[in-house]
Amino acid sequence: MGETNRITLEIQNVYKHFPGVQALKDVSIALHEGEVHAVVGENGAGKSTLMNIIIGLIQADRGKIFKNNKEVFISNPIDAQRLGIGIVPQELNLVPLLTVMENILLGMMPCRVKGMILDWSTMSKRAAQVLEQIGEYIDPKAVVANLSTAQQQILQIARAFSFGAQILIFDEPTSSLSLKETENLFKIIKNFKESGGSVFYISHRLEEILEIADRITVLRDGCKVAELAPESTSLREMIRHMVGKEVEEVSRTIRFDPKGRGVVLKVENLTRAYEFRKISFELFEGEILGLVGLVGSGRTELVKCIFGDTVPDSGTVHTYGKETVHRTPEDAIQNRLAYVPEERRKLGLFPIMSVVENMTIPILKRLTSFIRIDKKQQTSKAQEFISKLDIRTPSLSQRVQNLSGGNQQKVILARWLLTGCRILILDEPTRGIDVNAKAEIHQILRELVAKEGISVLFISSELQEVLKIANRIIVMHEGDMKGEVLADQATQEELLQIALS
């Protein structure tokens, strides 16, 4: 479809070099009017660098940018705004304690008396106008901190609309949205493109790219390796271009037979006010139990409570056949539980500490003889798991913040395996991680379960992923447990039906 339309933004032969890495090499890409142009690639492929050049956060070393066939120079984000380019970033940058209208019009609030006094009534009207244009109703006077993630994202879109953006960049917009919210977002994007707008769309979720995109550009190691049409391509082909080879995806799980296996974790009627009610389930030794539910289902709150981060109001937890109370995460860890949290950067990593320390931090006391940490043992333990999980890092003393998302996640996984955990709770472990690393993590889990009999509680918003990796799945919705299914018999639709029943 896009072929007949005019090119609105064209990037020609762009190069960008960062110390130690050629981030972009001779990349050309054209965005047509009224199209959604997806840019895909593994982490480090150059997607973000390319987008940052377009919105003026960084400048290319070489190459040209044309807007409506006229060469333009974008040297800062304000230039980009003037050219009608807006971005909905992955990490929303809103001011939480200000109101919706202030956030939408931030930086261009209407004023009276020569820009001295804010004109609140005009501001409110304009904000409402913009929101109407998107087709969403949010009270302009509401405080942003009280909004849901999806609503906050809409504000970010509204901000771009407010200066009349013709080109919108979406960076991983759906990674924290529920299915319904995602659909809603797609509706907004479709409306935007029908009104003549153009979209650059970045996502790791390849299925949704096939659904929303009109054109797909694949980047690998800073080079453009393919331009595909969604009608004629497949997931497999996209992944092959992204990775440069065929990726061995783990096959779907075979039926799990609990006969003769012990129950390692038994949760009974666990309740915590406003979070979850009367949750009961059992986790068998060597089993992967999927836990699904839309945002707000209480699944993260549930596992945090099991892990001792919060205290339940009522109900019991049994581990290895004995009733246990985890008052703090420390108790849970001693009881050989482990928790890989959803927000990796905020809750999991120690960004400025080394890879070794990130891996060994829970077991420092165990590595200590008298009062001194045995650094040799520390290093060798870390080294062992670096090769076991194939963690790619230039050195052990590298700060973990310099690793890619997939490798960071593996560091956290290694951290818990080093503790000798028996029950592994994973909360969205593959979010924002590229296909290759994701497949590797799945493979690692399979092996842990099969060879070492570790039990896994696996939370993910990607239903397909859960269906593939889990043996059994429990479904939660708004704090209630809605049902339990065997993974090899269920479909995505069924899971949703159970959730919403």
């Binding site: 703090t328 995460p329 120690f350 500490m353 931090i361 009062i371």
Partner: protein, 328 residues
Amino acid sequence: MHMPMNENNMQRESLTVMRKILHFKESGILIALILLSLTLSVATNKFLTPYNIGIVIRQVSFVAIVALGQTLVLLTGGIDLSVGNMAGLCSILGSLMMVSTRIDPYVCTILAMLIGLMLGSISGFLIARVGLNAFIATLAMGEVFAGLVLVITKGYPITGIPPKFKFLGQGMLGLVPVPVIIMLVITAIFAYVLKYTPYGRHIYAIGGNELASRLVGIRVIRIKMSVYAISGMLSALAGIIFVSRMNAGQPTIGPSWLMPSVTAAIIGGTTLSGGEGTVLGTIIGAIFMGVLANGIVLLDISAYWERVIIGAVVVAAVIIDIVRVRRF
């Protein structure tokens, strides 16, 4: 298969060691200190004399001892604004004990340090357990301490300190003043603890990411309380050594140590956001500031300029740090 890998790794490790020396966090301030000392040695022949160096280093030791405790607090991402008044209050209480009881002055020293430890734990409790902001909690506690000093002393110094107590502040071990030895011993202990013990690494972890620290089983509340307790104890120690040096409990000592304790740590490479910094850097930072103050006196610059210059140096140090980080 494994042998060549190991060799490779060793090479890589030795490369990182080289890099570490180049990017040694303390190297910047150390170079600055050397340059400053060289300049002063050339500019005046009064600087590089044993007598002058002795004075400078002894002066520095008080602030440095306070700054060591401050560094621990800063590493967890907090700040202790009560250090100066804490030193004042504990030194007054210590002197009172020495003057009005028969308790041995060195036992009084330990008692004063225990009082500091206790008062520090109160701040720590308010911050770590109750959840007060460190800035506010320690600022308020500092006011309480300052007020108590005035209530107790009515503004008069406490005299009649036993002569045998002089040794702590005025004595020498060989060529080295006793307070300097105390400073060096504490530095060595802290450097070891921070680098080689779980407690030390947990302090860095909390400063680096407090939420994650809790989720990996670190006793965040206990460790946070402990750093304020240690900071209080060291402030008390510095205060009491100063009593020994002055032969009197001065109600006015202390407040002037707060700013230098923070600046020594900051220009020594500790960040206000926590998780980064070393005690060695702090000591070099403290010495740098001591030499700077000394230089101002020796060069006959009006003493009024001292604070202007120190303020400017702090701004410069922080800018350099930002620029250095950005290069990566």
